[in-house]
Structures are given as structure tokens and as C-alpha cells.
Symmetry: C2
Subunit: 301 residues, 2 copies
Amino acid sequence: MKDKFYKYIENLQDTITSTLKKVDGVATFQEDLWKRAEGGGGRTRVIENGGVFEKGGVNISKVFGELPEPLRKQFGVKEGDFFACGLSLVLHPKNPFVPTVHANWRYFEMYDANGNIVTQWFGGGQDLTPYYLFNQDAIHFHQVCKSACDRHHPEFYSKFKETCDNYFWNTHRNEARGIGGLFFDYLKETDEFSIEDRYNFVTEVGDSFIESYVPIVKKRKELDYHQQHRDWQEVRRGRYVEFNLVHDRGTLFGLKTNGRIESILMSLPPIVQWKYNHQPKENSEEAKLLEVLKSPKQWVK
Amino acid sequence: MKDKFYKYIENLQDTITSTLKKVDGVATFQEDLWKRAEGGGGRTRVIENGGVFEKGGVNISKVFGELPEPLRKQFGVKEGDFFACGLSLVLHPKNPFVPTVHANWRYFEMYDANGNIVTQWFGGGQDLTPYYLFNQDAIHFHQVCKSACDRHHPEFYSKFKETCDNYFWNTHRNEARGIGGLFFDYLKETDEFSIEDRYNFVTEVGDSFIESYVPIVKKRKELDYHQQHRDWQEVRRGRYVEFNLVHDRGTLFGLKTNGRIESILMSLPPIVQWKYNHQPKENSEEAKLLEVLKSPKQWVK
């Protein structure tokens, strides 16, 4: 399974980066291969100063070896080896009318002293962070997420949509990071689902990514914008940074376990503003977004 | 003692803001008074888009009442009331040749069920974050810190300078946030020092702030700079954000205990950049700064 899923994310990285390169039209992805001293490594692909994407990364990595101390604590085991691999992407478009997107699909195995798999699971999801809200974009994104889920279980979408809203919550601001999507973790083998079923579900979600995001980019990338729109985008990007550095488990785990810093922090936006006590005008487009972030909506039924 | 110290920081806030206003020449401080539901409140003073200061805050606050849960845990007590007050300041100048500065001086009391003081202490310090390193500025800042310390104990400076270097360390980057200064905490009554001695020391340090920083600002604020200097300043400000959101105990404590967000996060810089894998050119001024941040120097003997 680990080889099969790694092969899958290798191919998916190729598909996504070649598609995004075409959409961007100006910049290409810079590739960095890196090795992890304790075992494994990754293939980081970053785009900067593009026609559409101001900054973004589509990274895969595979790490294995002895379970690091923080993971041993978290899983309540004394020793053991592990294997983990995944694809992570974040795209920060230049045009404030094009939303930022984040996605991650990953697989984890843990072994006993004889090298047998003790436990294995999939995790991941994708979520959208608009700066200006177009209802039809939000509906499109959620509809694609839902269709991928519905082919596997009628309750997956509502469950993973709710998990996503709860996870990407900036508690200190009492607002969501964006308008959500899907988030799932610890998808293990159960009586109902084999590990093959889990693989089929996660790869179906991964395969749906381009369809969920690229049509929105194409629709909005040529819209005219002014400095006031950029200012708002840059202020909202500050909230994105706050979430990633204060709350995001993946980022903090990476920072605290000696991960490759530049691959982890490629998620941070290129230009960000913090203004003191910034409040959008009443009834403005900016205020409309905030209202939705304060109480997440059901976009599709 | 609590009334005496609060009176002190009220006056110090006035002195510092009126001095900085004169230095800035363009902007004034906007004042916000706020109340804390559980007891206390603060006087936040923020400057933005000034002639010298792009963003900054000089805030005082006084909070009291029942000890919040995270503090009860930290101090290992089951119940009790507390009182805390302090002055916090961060200044982000526009000119990349003028360093950012941070300072904080605070006092804490904890009570038993009868309202008697169980323990009381002072804490605080001040530290400098340059974007371009002028040795004479670093020496000046540290010399003023040392002179204030030396009037109270011959070992205070070296001890609190080292604590500062250790505290403002971005572990995930393996580099210091800036070039340090002083950091001290839990300055309690001992056989050697009365609580009055502690008060005299902390207020001496507070009184030295203007002398430690303002001459540097005056000396550098008119220096010509180009976009490349701004870019470097904005990238380095990103490291400042990383420290404050990932590591700073004060910020995280504030965020997790329902403090006033806008007063806590006034410390974040106005405009920030994150570039992928940014490295300064060899032997450049930017590289020279990094070298010092990787291994903190002794600036004065």
C-alpha cells in the first residue's frame, strides 16, 4: 500500500503542477529534492511571481525510520518504526478575487519490533480561502468535494465538511480561516471499509482537486482589482499566517521535529499586512465575507 | 507596591509616547481604553504610518481577579486571586536602517484565600532587532542596558543578557530574533534583595529605555534606502512574526486566555514578506547580520 500510494502522489504532483503551469502562463515550478537525515526526503515544487500565482508550492514527501519522540507520546507507544508520505499544496494567487487553496493527502504506517504493520491510516482534505466571496465559487468547490465523497458513503461529505469547519478555526479571532471543504484523519480499516476502500476514497478526493479549483481560477483571474482589494487580501493573509503558525498541527509538528523549514513554510503568503484593529465598512463586500467566516454555511445539500 | 508600580508605568507610557511622537514628527498615538470582563483593562496607544514609525504600540494593562486555569496549572496552585500589570512596547520603523525594538516591564502578585500576598515578582526586559547591523548601535544599546544593571549588581547584565539571547531564539531557524538586550523574570524578594530593591532595578531599566533606543533612531532615520533594503527588512520581519506566533510565551498566553487580540497583536509588523528559501548573497550586509544572529556576540564588557 505504501508504494502504491507514493506512486499515486508522485503522479498527482506531476498532473497538478503541469496543469497549474498552463493556467499560470508565466512562471514555472522550481524543483528542490531534499533528504531527511533520519530516513526519506521529498520533492518540493514552488512557483513564485507567476502570472496568476504569486506564490505556491506542491510538495510530496516520504519520511520513515524510528518514530520521533513527539509522535511516540501522541500515539502512546514506547518504540517502533513508522512510514509516512503525502502531498501538500498551498496556492496564493495574486488577484484578490481568486481564492487561496490548500490541500493535503497523506498515508501513515506504524510497525512492531518485527516490522509488521500495527496500524495504518489515511488523512487529508482540501479547503478554500477566498478574499471576496462569490457564492457560486463556494458552491462549485463544495459540490465537487461532495460528489467525490458521495461515491463512497452518503455521510462522508457532511461529516468531513464539519470536521474541516472545526479544524480551520482561528479560535483567537473566533472566525474560520476560509470557507472550508473537506478534512479527514485516521481513516483506518474497519468492518465497513477495507484499507483498499480508504485508498480509493482518498485518491478520488485527490483526483477531484483540479476540477474543484481550476475552473474558479480561470473564471476570476482576469478580473480588475484596485489597491484597496489587494490591501484587504494582504490583511486576510495575515489571518492565514496566524492560523498556520499558532494552530495548525501539521506546521507545528514539522517545526518541532526538525522538518525541512522551507518546505513547511512555503505555505506562508508572499506579502502580508497587519493593520491595528482593522474593520471592514458595514455592508461592504469585505464585511460580507467576515459574516460567513464567523458562522460557516452549508453550501450544498 | 502594585499601586506604586502601576503609577510608574502610567507615567512611563506618557513619557515614552510623548518622546516618540516628537521623534516621529508626523503621526500621533491613537489611544484605546479597554476593559477586561473578569477584572481590569488597559490603555493601548498605537502609532501607524508615521514619519519614522510605520507601526508601533506602547500599551499598559492591569488585570486581576481569579487566577485563570492555565496560570493555576503553571504555578501548581488549586485556587487564588492574582494581580498583574505591565507596559509592553514594540516599534517597527519604516527605514530599514532603523532597528525594531521591543520592551516589557511587569509586576505580578498572587494571593491566598484571605487576600494576603503569597508571592510577588517583577519581570521584563528590552531587546533590539536590526535589519542592517551597525556595531556602534548594538554597543550603544547594550551599554545603556549594562549601565542600568551595574548600578544594582555586577552580575545582572551578563546574566540577563544571556537569558535574553536564549529566550529570543527561533529554534526552527536556529537563529536569534535580533541582537538581544535584557530579559529577566521571577525577580522575587530574597535574602539579598528586598521587593523595593527589585522595584528600583526594574524602574531603572524602564527609565533607561529612551536613552537606549532614541539616539539610534535619530542617527539612522534619514539614511537613504532602496527597495532591496525594504525587501530584506520585510523578509526579516517574517522571522519576527514566526517568533511571536510560534514561540513567544506572552503572545501565546494572551491568545489562549482571551486577552484583547488587537492589543496583543499590535506587535506584528505592518508589511511582511515570505519568499521561498531566501538566502542573502555571500559577504553582503544581509549575510553579515545573519552571521551574528546565528551566534550572539558580547557587545560590551
